[in-house]
Subunit: 490 residues, 2 copies
Amino acid sequence: MMSENGALPLRGKVLTVDTMNANVKKVDYAVRGPIVQRAVQIEKELKEGVKKPFEEVIKANIGDAHAMGQRPITFFRQVMALCTYPQLLDDNKFPEDAKNRARRILQSCGGNSIGAYTTSQGIDCVRHDVANYIQRRDGGIPSDPDNIYLTTGASDGIVTILKLLTAGEGRTRTGVMISIPQYPLYSASIAELGAVQINYYLNEEKCWSLDISELQRSLQAAREHCDPRVLCIINPGNPTGQVQSRQCIEDVIRFAVKENLFLMADEVYQDNVYAEGCEFHSFKKVLFEMGPEYSSKVELASFHSTSKCYMGECGFRGGYMEVINMDPEVKAQLTKLVSVRLCPPAPGQALMDLVVNSPQPGEPSYQTFIKERTDVLSALAEKAKLTEEILNTVPGISCNPVQGAMYSFPRITLPERAINEAKAKGQAPDMFYCMKLLEETGICLVPGSGFGQREGTYHFRMTILPPTDKLKIMLNKLKEFHQKFTQQYS
Amino acid sequence: MMSENGALPLRGKVLTVDTMNANVKKVDYAVRGPIVQRAVQIEKELKEGVKKPFEEVIKANIGDAHAMGQRPITFFRQVMALCTYPQLLDDNKFPEDAKNRARRILQSCGGNSIGAYTTSQGIDCVRHDVANYIQRRDGGIPSDPDNIYLTTGASDGIVTILKLLTAGEGRTRTGVMISIPQYPLYSASIAELGAVQINYYLNEEKCWSLDISELQRSLQAAREHCDPRVLCIINPGNPTGQVQSRQCIEDVIRFAVKENLFLMADEVYQDNVYAEGCEFHSFKKVLFEMGPEYSSKVELASFHSTSKCYMGECGFRGGYMEVINMDPEVKAQLTKLVSVRLCPPAPGQALMDLVVNSPQPGEPSYQTFIKERTDVLSALAEKAKLTEEILNTVPGISCNPVQGAMYSFPRITLPERAINEAKAKGQAPDMFYCMKLLEETGICLVPGSGFGQREGTYHFRMTILPPTDKLKIMLNKLKEFHQKFTQQYS
């Protein structure tokens, strides 16, 4: 109501930090946290001519291949251009296989336009192609297109499945087991949904491998205060870069059966395996090879994306998930839930299709495609090795082999005085370290505390994505910085 | 544990309808509900050669312009193709203004690639263009790019703001006021978040206008059992097609101030205004024209999208929101929250840029652009009129003028016997009607019960998007069906 003199009453905001969603406040997302915000600021300062001890910020904080100079796969972009502007189908600059892919995708779109909504689960022919890809990848184990849901990046699928699984209150609240270190999408989504985060620690001494005894310990402790129902695995690992052995996956599946857990397998780095003797095994494949007693029982959702591997098409937000043994009534609920957001972006769906249905021998684009893919993957393998080698020459830094994915997660020894100074500032010691590194060298990394680590240990995550020359410079700058930092605080 | 004979123990599913997220179960989304699922089935049956009394399904259930044959705007698709496959920048088939737009967008992308992640809030230059567009649209009232968040369609923005606002338990739980009839994204998101839905009824007798006295009634009733904090408005209206008067918007703003409500203005149909004497007024503009006493106080989020208006690019999932007077600490939380999903799809962001930064007089693409836009909008205006006119010739159907948006929401009179038969089947009477319509004519509409309506009234939502010829056929088939249906059940 107006007051007597006609002025509006004083009023506070409707929405304040005190009255907002409390779960959202608990969300933390280090990959784009304070250190990245400061990096963006520094970039602006550099542009404005502010003098710094470096000329550019090197962002090794996020798995963003194109931003680091990786070129898109020509075939993928040709098809996408054809889908976007079909007049180009008459242009003889474009190879026939690209045109065929584009025509096929467009025929599956409403009004033959990629601007139409698709079905909520995703374009029919894309889901079929995804199922065929999985079947080929997994040595013939069948995949049903009805179990495939296209998603807005893998993140979207992961959040959706966690959402379905979140229920109960207090001691019956859903608990979600995640590895520590973890990719912070998991902790963030668990916080947002108000589920309970259950940490199991990877074994740094054994190359970040997963010990069943640790799973058991963590589960038992969690059962005291919540209802553990989900086990999340990232393989190849983010941020830790390990590749799980077949044996380990089998053990995890047995554990899930024994303990009645829903399995979520984040396999977005499935093509990113570099170390000799390592191989990617999908959870789906191992599950089915263990026989019908397992393959008919275990509830599994696995996730893939257009953002990683050799294509690195993050901006398109393409992805899929496959759900195995999901209760049909729950599946109907899932389909309903995804329909509220209408559909994943159609260009991302089309791109996902190309990833699972890439040029075949005999097709005009095959040679170029294979060359481009091989170039990217072998450069990554080289950089994985380089990173491990150079980092391990630095006293006070120890780095496990980067077996796969796109990251190294080295352990750093910090002097007592640096730890104390950080604590006095209310900062995690590795945040303090990374912030100093950024200010002095322009290198942007993410502190280990953003991913979780054993109490009293410190790490950072660094992508191996910068071009080899730049990566070498960066690693040597890092070496120099670490030595200086150690001296300064000793 | 294995049992003694080595067999795995019997176990039920981890995830069942009984143990899943209870809020998700409450979600309902009629626009893609059972009737649409049946339509998809029928399409399959037709393909398989099953004989039906019609040859094709006409989907008038969803605002999906391209699926209904509308052609994309040439300029938009040219720029998108250039962004996707920059080799085309050397091709003289593409006009210079399209190339300039593409170059500018690519320069704002990491590694000049639309495949890189963007900042979570959205590409810088796109947010600037959006702010400039709003400023032009609103007669010079300033807009700050820092208040612009790019989104994955408007839906994503709406859910995000509702998420921030959802707090409290029991009687302090956040209440969200939504119009009835409403667009079911609102009821679905409110259910998913566990917030409280507060219905205010639009006045069908006065062309679906909004009465402040009804807002007051609805708010008062809600205060008995929850904490009403948000008022959602859809203007132009979905599903009801009304366009709010400037006076009404002022009244709503005064009401929001008086009652301490956060305003959410869904303005995705801002270019879809057809009726003479009607004009689109943005909430932002009216708010600022009411003077600083209002413009410095009212918290407002408004939403726009690439999916509607004259472009109808639904598949790209582009959108933006502008937040006004949001508490800076909450804004920081919002920025953090959106960063968890990394970024909206980059192609959708680029497309949003073109919508707010379309060809200007003097640029080579201007004439074609204007012609294409005008053609779409005048065809829609014609179809809006046609729909109203033909429907109102049917005894038992009464249809308000379609002043804007893309839908008619006529009221239908159903014979008592039909109502009883529906109820006996456990169906809403208008669902029963629409299902019969679909089976007998192939026309797919959404029953009014999916949007909400006054007790004892029945409606359907029909898009005006089919091409004029098809629309006429459809309306006449509908007329015939209604007469037959009425006879049959009288």
